[in-house]
């Protein structure tokens, strides 16, 4: 009925081996794939990028239609302009401060339930998008495939917005509005920590 003790000890010996195994990649990440993966991961591996882009989705969803889709459309378009500056080597001052500040400001917008006119909200998002784009664009020329790198980071940006929009759907639940505003507060707090250089 039960396995004998030697079998059990073999299983327990095998388990740690399974846990310490590393990923086996069937394909090397070069060329188009490598460019896409590095571009896709660039915003995702940067906490400052992640929280700011999620905040864009949160704020857009909080403001309702048409901001819910307008802000995630404005962000990548203006981000591309900032990226173009980075690609062309045009220096932009205070990039890191701008990125950290975007988390602080956008988080506060959500936390304080600020409802400016759509054009002003788009302008605020657009200004910060330039800093994010510049950071991405600076790395683009060194990518193994710049085109797929660009596609990767634009898609990742859009999906992070979508994550924010998705989280904001809890707004419809009891206490959901508080949760959304609390998330905004958390993002703003992280922005302060980024500005303070803690991360």
């Amino acid at each position: 009925m039960f396995p004998n003790p030697s079998t059990i000890s073999r299983i327990f010996l095998t388990l740690p081996l399974l846990l310490v195994s590393s990923t086996a990649m069937a394909h090397i990440e070069e060329g188009i794939v490598g460019g896409f993966v590095s571009g896709f991961l660039h915003p995702i591996y940067g906490w400052d990028h992640v929280v700011a882009m999620v905040a864009v989705g949160l704020w857009g969803s909080f403001l309702g239609s048409p901001a819910i889709w307008m802000l995630p459309v404005v962000f990548p378009l203006v981000m591309a302009l900032g990226g173009a500056l980075g690609v062309l080597g045009v220096p932009l001052p205070f990039v890191e401060i701008g990125i950290a500040g975007s988390a602080l400001v956008l988080g506060l917008m959500v936390a304080l339930a600020v409802r400016p006119p759509l054009s002003l909200a788009a302008a605020i998002v657009g200004i910060f998008a330039i800093f994010h784009g510049h950071a991405h664009g600076t790395e683009l020329p060194s990518a193994s495939n710049p085109l797929s790198y660009a596609i990767g980071f634009v898609m990742a940006t859009g999906l992070l917005h979508l994550a924010g929009i998705g989280f904001a759907l809890v707004d419809k639940w009891p206490g959901g509005a508080i949760a959304v505003r609390a998330a905004g507060g958390l993002i703003a707090l992280l922005g302060v920590l980024f500005l303070a250089g803690v991360f």
Binding site: I32, W69, P72, V73, P76, L77, M79, A80, L81, G83, A84, L85, V87, L88, G89, G137, L140, P141, P146, L147, S148, A150, I151, V154, M155, G158
Partner: protein, 199 residues
């Protein structure tokens, strides 16, 4: 028994039966036909063209498809005459960016501008579709395949977008189209900057 054995041997050793002898150059035709799918910049431009055409209510499909055929043919003809073997040219990136912006704005240009845009996009695709040097007949057949590939991809793609939008009338589907347009416009902007930076 011997007859059965011989019959069995014949049955188990079939080879491919060719109803027709392969037409000379037909492989080149298929290589050309699939060529638009082998380049990310081509795919982006084709997607954008399909999104723009497909999102127009009953647009002008015949004239637009004629413009696609004429533009692609003109582009590849000029590439043949000039001997241009391009991988990515700024013209296709510019057209993808313009198309992307039009999709974002859901702005449908009037007939003349639309035909010029569509023909220009197809021209850019054709310009990048010249195969490596070889026998004139082989090059010609491959080029014909490329024109056919561009034509059919845009025809079926735009029709697919149109049918999809008719079937799913929910607002988020049109928003998804706009967001896709913004992503392509953003990528085009970055790639244009990259092309300028490396030139």
């Amino acid at each position: 028994m011997t007859r059965l054995g011989v019959l069995f041997l014949l049955l188990v050793s079939p080879s491919l039966a060719w109803a027709h002898a392969p037409f000379p150059g037909i492989r080149g035709f298929y290589v050309g036909f699939l060529h638009p799918l082998t380049s990310l910049s081509h795919i982006l431009l084709i997607i954008c063209t399909c999104l723009l055409l497909g999102s127009m209510a009953e647009g002008k499909p015949r004239q637009c498809l004629a413009a696609v055929g004429a533009g692609a043919s003109a582009g590849i003809l000029i590439a043949m005459i000039a001997g241009l073997i391009l991988s990515t040219n700024p013209i296709s990136i510019v057209f993808a960016g313009i198309m992307g912006i039009l999709v974002v704005l859901a702005w449908h240009p009037d007939k003349t501008w639309l035909l010029m845009l569509i023909a220009g996009s197809a021209f850019a695709l054709g310009l990048e579709s010249l195969p490596d040097p070889g026998r004139f007949v082989d090059v010609l057949i491959t080029c014909l395949g490329s024109v056919a590939g561009i034509f059919y991809l845009i025809m079926y793609g735009s029709r697919g977008v149109y049918e999809g939008l008719q079937r799913w009338q929910a607002g988020w589907v049109r928003i998804g189209v706009r967001i896709a347009g913004s992503w392509i416009a953003a990528v085009s902007c970055l790639m244009l900057a990259f092309q300028i930076a490396v030139s």
